[in-house]
Symmetry: C2
Subunit: 344 residues, 2 copies
Amino acid sequence: MRREVTLRDVAELAGVSSRTVSNVVNGYANVTERTRERVQRAVDELGYRPNVLARNLAQGRSGQIAVVVPYLDTPYFSELLQSVIRAARARGYNVLIDQTDGDPEHERAFIAHGSRRLLFDGVIFSPLGLDQQALADRDPALPLVVLGERTSDGGFDHVGIDDVTASRQATDHLLDLGRQRIAAIGDQPYATGEAAQRRTRGFRLAHQARGLVPREDLIISTPRFNRPDGAQAMAHLLDLAEPPDAVFCYSDLVALGAIRTIVSRGLRVPEDVAVIGYDDIEDGAYSNPTVTTISPDKEMIATTAVDRLLLRIASDTPPPGLEMRAPHKLIIRESTAGRTTATA
Amino acid sequence: MRREVTLRDVAELAGVSSRTVSNVVNGYANVTERTRERVQRAVDELGYRPNVLARNLAQGRSGQIAVVVPYLDTPYFSELLQSVIRAARARGYNVLIDQTDGDPEHERAFIAHGSRRLLFDGVIFSPLGLDQQALADRDPALPLVVLGERTSDGGFDHVGIDDVTASRQATDHLLDLGRQRIAAIGDQPYATGEAAQRRTRGFRLAHQARGLVPREDLIISTPRFNRPDGAQAMAHLLDLAEPPDAVFCYSDLVALGAIRTIVSRGLRVPEDVAVIGYDDIEDGAYSNPTVTTISPDKEMIATTAVDRLLLRIASDTPPPGLEMRAPHKLIIRESTAGRTTATA
DNA sequence: CTGAAAGCGCTAACAG
DNA sequence: CTGTTAGCGCTTTCAG
């Protein structure tokens, strides 16, 4: 690599100090129009490009934020990431993406003091299960925004939709349809399964509000929220003496897996079993049948998270941890309403 | 941010020079066991962490590679990305992900001389359509590996599967099934559509080898390779006087969109129309029906690309541009073989 | 409004 | 095997 054009080279050619060139390049105010022009000409002539690495070192910041998700190839995350990248870029930040594979150890390492420190100025974190231990070990100096609803433990922000309410609405929708035996797929009754547990809570609340009690054997736990999990859980449910006539799935992928099982047994959706998902991923809008779902406002989640993180990065005195809610809505499609709705 | 522990602090405490500390931290050989220990103790005591930014500047490299894809939320890319990230990380590199939204301007900017120069040491590029102009403008000093088959124009590498052969196999499969009127969805008869055109070539070759000539009105162009493209194209095909009895789709998403249209018209897959896709994304293994597809070895593509890029980064004299083929295979599922195959 | 100069923290010639 | 020291290229305090 041949020697690069430096700030000094430009300064020399323009007959000014490197300080002035720096001012011009960074668009600072204190420069005469005349000198600005002269410098600009020199910049163009030499083809000068600032060295990001040097700037980073001098400023002590990297201009990059990290986004940490469990799985990159899960549609919900990749759709969300897209919005985050766009938002960050619009604000002059690069995005470094990291995948934890759902490994709690990896998740923990990411927000703890690490050797990658300084490689990013802050982190937007979508934990699969972030336990109290991990939060206790975290580097308090690292600006952090966590995705997903949770009671903020202070020192960082949360952005997410109201899971309990959304889950209750989903369940209400099935109850409104007159379904009698509603199952839930995706519970995770252990420390790192808080998100799942909030959905289960909503599921129960919807029943209770009508004086009903959900059958415990219809609440199925799954290790993850993928198609295979849904397919397997559904197979189990259909083998019951009294199988469900509706299912609330904690993700659209789970719903797609469940639908697959239902159909492959020769049953019909929604006639025999109505299915509702969660996340509103694109797949669900094109599957057979299309999937009714809870749709979180991903764009809003992304921009809120980025804005809040940048604010946190910019502040000397860290702002208090905030709990932020993005809106969601129920989108009714064929898997609960039936084919009649389809016009496509 | 309070002052960080520096190399010098460690050196002072250990009573050695910073050079020696650097040697220890980087695991270089020339250090006595005794001093190494002493230094290590000092490192631990002070909780020293190397400053990546400073190292980058001193070394003139960033330890990051960029991966540029058209769309992050397209399953094929997100699945591929996952493998790339894993491979890069295993080799000590961070991955910076970028999305071009298929914008040729954006694609061009990425491999041209840019102000982001030095932020990454090399680029793995999956262009939607990389025209000759873009290649001409590229920064010849930037190590580059391009994904997707193409005749290498020198100075960079290509990694991809043999599109023509794969497409021919896909078409052969449909012909072997005895289908008479086979359509193709996804052609892109313009400069940036080379990948699509290779598939069309394979489609034609399969016909020619049997003395057949494909009907031109059954070869449909689409702007992208998504579900809506497939759905729309299929609608058009079904409106023809003599609709096809089989379709070769240039991506699984297109196939899923097409299937959606077929089914919503009350027709059956594969009885009325057999459908084959391309990419082997997870969706296709769980859809109704499951989708027969061409499955590229993504893991192989990713590791080959990363290895080759790192080699390129490490060499002073750039190696010649190589054309590398990853293996692929045909996976037969319900959309061509029928439900009988299904056991799930 | 502009110059001079001191770092940012680390690496790597060049001695010794 | 280890110390000295000169940068990497930019930002930024402090003068002027």
